[in-house]
């Protein structure tokens, strides 16, 4: 197993998929203005797996919300492919999330009333060129659990259903917010394996945010945030397999 695909992309002239420049986000809480983002420049290229590290309050979730179309920056520009999202309307952001973006949440956020397959189908139904729900579940190693309801699955399994749900519509970018945050390390690794596989086989661009430094080792690129700024960018020499890392 090699990391050829990611190396190809980093060595060739990489195509920028999503680019934010000078992103700022200020929250007004009462009299106090909190600057959660202080001019962040970030670009994600097609097919790369980026891990965004940072402590609580560093601004990484705020950045993910803006990149994912859940929130708008107070200042700065955001482009996805050739579209300017800086001043997008709610409907345009919904369309962006619907067509181009996938999300994996810390707490899975599965729909309790639907089986694993149906949770995936929920998203494939509103997508343009989705894969079959069963195929997506196969990809995350849950081919035999398709008819189970969330309450009948373990946390790791639920998170993998969430991954399957996120990738089934073949999004161009997948945002994962602490995808292993609620899991023990064994289960967490299985989830990371699923993400890793999707990144390699489908060339889906991924941004994983975590405070878990170890996870950075499976990435093409690691960004570190602190006090609303990206303070460090590193490219590991070799991208490790999830089974090779520990935390």
């Amino acid at each position: 197993m090699t990391s050829s695909s990611s190396h190809q992309q980093t060595s060739a002239d990489p195509e920028i998929l999503l680019e934010g420049k000078g992103l700022e986000r200020t929250f007004l809480t009462g009299e106090v203005a909190v600057r959660a983002l202080r001019g962040v420049d970030i670009s994600l290229t097609r097919g790369e797996l980026v891990v965004l590290l940072g402590h609580s309050g560093s601004g990484k979730s705020t950045l993910l919300n803006i990149l994912g179309g859940l929130d708008r920056a107070t200042a700065g520009t955001l482009r996805f492919e050739d579209k300017d999202l800086s001043h997008a309307t709610d409907a345009e952001l919904t369309r962006y999330r619907r067509r181009s973006v996938g999300f994996v949440f810390q707490f899975y956020n599965l729909v309790a009333g639907l089986t694993a397959r149906e949770n995936v189908a929920l998203v494939t139904e509103i997508a343009n060129h989705p894969m079959q729900p069963d195929e997506a579940l196969e990809l995350v190693g849950l081919g035999d659990r398709v008819k189970h309801f969330p309450a009948q699955l373990s946390g790791g399994e639920q998170q993998r259903v969430a991954v399957a749900r996120a990738i089934a519509k073949r999004p161009q970018i997948l945002f994962c917010d602490e995808p292993t945050g609620a899991l023990d390390s064994q289960t967490g690794i299985r989830v990371l394996e699923a993400l890793d596989r999707v990144n390699r086989e489908l060339s889906t661009t991924m941004l994983i945010i975590t405070h878990n430094v170890g996870i950075g080792e499976i990435a093409d690129r690691v960004l570190r945030m602190q006090d609303g700024e990206i303070i460090e960018e590193t490219r590991p020499n070799r991208r490790l397999k999830p089974s090779e890392i520990s935390w």
Binding site: F107, A151, D177
Partner: protein
């Protein structure tokens, strides 16, 4: 909030937080209480004003008519045990000629003593004065008639009295407790324009009707505790030789009976309708409280861990229900007062009672509060006890996730052909059967209430159709002063414009079966009558059989007899024969408790030549005016009623009432539906907010998420509406049965259009309520959902 216990502060904040739902429940409670306050308040207003009126103006206890009795008979009436006061009178129907009124109008002329005020059934004089004793042409007229025809003291009015056209001068305007509800001959609703009461000095009437030293009507009062039935029998004995037609007491006095009937309807309304509201509000409170307790599990655990007792926690949540309900009760009082005022004003136009003014009924307030708070406590008790029972350690854990499982339903609910959102909606419906049932119940209750009240307008249409079209093919009904030879009918048929005439004879009778006895009027119709017919309950025409008697189903029920049974008829006319008659058919009539016979058989029983007391006429529409002009000059005619005028008056009188009542019912029925839907949608949004926000993050639009949130309610509404229609028809039967009186009964007719209007009201109000909640979908916090665990 200083000095308030922290739990009470929490309570207030909970209510503030859930104010939308609290208001929804409060409105439903308010509607139930309002109807109770309105119905009972109007009832006590009517009852108190009427009783005061009766007492102050000495409404009589027993009434009787005779053909002609000498004044000496009055002395014998005074000798009857228990009789206190006797007043003899002359009472006659006359035909009027009023300027600018084309149709024949009637007045009932009632005598007043020559030198004084009446002793019984006294006049309350609003304007003017009493007629001069020596002036033969002065009259007092009833207030409603004066208002409708814009007549004032000093105006003149023409009346045909015993065949002579007389010009009468109005000197006063008044009313009497005898005519609170004043009905002209052959009508069911008062027509103030075409029927009035006139009071005239006795001597003037004696002269006009050749009744010197005689009377044809008597009223009397009896000592408290006297059995009126015994008095009536003795009065009948005294008056029989003079052509007495049977004495009767207050319950059979027409005006009084109509007021009683209205009061009975108000009572029924106060008993049945608020119950629907209060049951719905109890169900809603139960669901709201259950949800609140789910949300506050951890807090409850904490509070218990601090050492609060079970009863303190139970009481805390009961207070939540009581607080919401109390708000509703107070609003219900206010709304009830407004409605009561509205209804009292409507009644004041129909029921001529002086001082019929709005008054507070303390009992209604107490009963409304007790019923509302009682149902709130019943509704909230199980949820509150459930909260108190939570063990602190367990409660402080988050609630276990909703456990959906494949079940026996899985084969049914594979639903492969459905999209996921729809499948989700259906699963949710089946996953929470109790909640679905509660929502279903709420919607169905709204529909039930609407159908069960709005049907009365269909019923009125049906009554009009039956009364004026199916059973009556005549254009005019003529009443004679007294029974006349059949040749009078052929005379009528020679009046210009009359195309056909059929004689009719009404005789008063007492019908007896076992210990049951009813005083009625038997109508004699020709066997082949075409202008007045009767219908069986399945809508077929019934011809008059040559023997026996035909009873209305209402009367048959009161006498507890059926076809084939024999009843005894005491005919209160002329020779007063007592005969046994077989019941040959039971027929369907909405109005009164009529009985019918073949007119020839009736005359034979009375041992009289062919005799009639009135006639039904078919008119040539082109020559109706000619008829109207000439008929009133014919001698012997007491009254003429035109079908077209009767229908117009019926509809005109009911129109306003119908629109007001329909409006009230539509609003309150809609309020139930809106309350149920709003509440259900809010609970659903609270419970599934996170799930729905996740879907928004995943790219679902607001509308798609709204579909998932509300689809369930839409399905519930679509099932609840037909269920409610069935319930509404059942409620209609219940109300029709409860409201049926001897005067009329409401047929249970529910037109498809009423079901349609009901469905529309419920759908529109539900949709409006749902839109209020959908607005909140837009403000779902998409960011929080990524971070928080439920």
């Amino acid at each position: 909030m200083k000095g308030m216990s922290p739990l009470n502060i929490k309570l207030l904040r909970d209510i503030w937080h859930m104010r939308g739902q609290a208001i929804a429940v409060g409105i439903i409670v308010a509607c139930g209480v309002a109807i109770m306050v309105m119905a009972l308040g109007t009832l006590s207003t009517l009852s108190a004003s009427r009783d005061a009126y009766y007492e102050r103006y000495r409404f009589a206890d027993v009434f009787a008519s005779v053909r002609r009795a000498p004044e000496s008979a009055a002395a014998r009436l005074r000798e009857i045990d228990g009789v206190q006061t006797v007043e003899t009178r002359i009472v006659r129907l006359v035909i009027l000629r009023i300027e600018n009124v084309d149709e024949p109008a009637n007045a009932q002329i009632v005598s007043i003593p020559d030198d004084s005020d009446s002793i019984l059934n006294k006049i309350v004089l609003f304007h003017g004065r009493y007629p001069e004793a020596r002036s033969p042409d002065e009259i007092i007229i009833s207030n409603a008639f004066a208002e409708a025809n814009e007549l004032q003291p000093g105006d003149a009015i023409e009346a045909v009295m015993n065949g002579r056209l007389r010009t009468l001068t109005i000197v006063g305007i008044g009313d009497s407790p005898e005519f609170i509800y004043a009905l002209g001959p052959g009508t069911l609703l008062p027509d103030d324009r075409l029927f009035g009461i006139f009071w005239m000095r006795r001597r003037a009437l004696e002269a006009a009707f050749d009744l010197d030293g005689a009377f044809n009507n008597v009223s009397l009062t009896v000592a408290p505790g006297t059995d009126t039935a015994t008095v009536i029998d003795q009065v009948d004995d005294v008056l029989a030789p003079y052509g007495g037609t049977g004495a009767f007491d207050r319950p059979d006095q027409l005006s009084n009976a109509f007021v009683d009937s209205e009061m009975n309807q108000l009572k029924t309304m106060a008993q049945i309708i608020p119950a629907v509201f209060l049951v719905v509000s109890a169900v809603l409170i139960h669901s709201i409280l259950n949800r609140l307790i789910q949300t506050e599990r951890q807090q409850i655990g904490l509070i218990k861990a601090f050492g609060y007792s079970r009863s303190e926690i139970t009481w805390h949540y009961l207070k939540f229900a009581i607080a919401i309900t109390t708000g509703g009760v107070l609003a219900g009082f206010a709304l009830g007062f407004v409605l009561q005022n509205l209804i009292t004003n409507l009644y004041a136009e129909t029921f001529r009672i002086p001082d019929l003014t709005w008054r507070v009924d303390a009992f209604a307030l107490v009963a409304g509060s007790v019923a509302a708070l009682g149902s709130a406590i019943v509704g909230s008790m199980s949820a509150a006890l459930g909260a108190a029972k939570l063990s602190p350690a367990e409660a402080m854990q988050p609630a276990p996730p909703i456990n959906y499982q494949q079940s026996w339903l899985r084969y049914v609910l594979q639903m492969r052909w459905l999209d996921e959102p729809t499948r989700l909606i259906l699963r949710h419906i089946f996953r929470f059967p109790a909640r679905t049932a509660a929502n279903l119940f709420g919607i169905a209750a709204a529909v039930t209430l609407l159908v069960g009240t709005l049907f009365s307008f269909d019923a009125i249409d049906d009554m009009i159709d039956q009364m004026f079209f199916r059973t009556n093919a005549h254009d005019a009904a003529v009443t004679f002063f007294e029974a006349r030879n059949e040749s009078a009918v052929s005379e009528l048929s020679r009046i210009p414009g009359v195309m056909a005439a059929e004689g009719v004879r009404d005789v008063p009778a007492r019908l007896v079966s076992g210990y049951r006895s009813e005083r009625v009027s038997i109508t004699g119709l020709a066997a082949d009558a075409q202008l007045r017919r009767v219908l069986s309950s399945d809508g077929r025409y019934v011809d008059m059989p040559s023997t026996g008697i035909v009873l209305s189903s209402q009367l048959a029920g009161m006498l507890d007899v059926t076809t084939g049974d024999t009843i005894t008829a005491h005919i209160l006319d002329a020779t007063r024969p007592v005969v046994d008659l077989p019941v040959t058919a039971i027929i369907d009539e909405s109005v009164g408790t009529p009985a019918f016979m073949d007119i020839a058989t009736m005359n034979a029983l009375l041992d009289q030549p062919p005799t009639v007391s009135g006639a039904y006429l078919k008119l040539d529409p082109q020559r109706q005016n000619e008829f109207e002009d000439s008929v009133i000059e014919r001698p012997g005619i007491a009254g003429v009623s035109l079908r077209a005028a009767a229908i117009a008056s019926f509809e005109e009188t009911l129109q306003e009432t119908i629109y007001i009542m329909m409006g009230i019912y539509a609003v309150i029925g809609g309020a139930i539906a809106a309350g149920v839907v709003y509440n259900a949608a809010r609970i659903s949004l609270t419970e599934r907010g996170r799930e729905l926000a996740s879907l928004r993050v995943l790219g679902f639009t607001n509308n798609e998420v709204g579909y998932i949130l509300l689809g369930e309610l839409a399905i519930v509404a679509l099932i609840g509406i037909p269920l409610g229609c069935i319930g509404g028809i059942a409620l209609a039967h219940l109300i029709a049965t409860a409201m049926a009186t001897e005067l009329y009964r409401i047929p249970v007719t529910v037109n498809p259009s009423t079901l349609g209007i009901t469905a529309l009201i419920v759908l529109v109000s539900s949709t409006i309520a749902a839109l209020f909640v959908v607005r909140r979908v837009r403000s779902l916090d998409l960011i929080a959902v990524l971070k928080t665990r439920e």
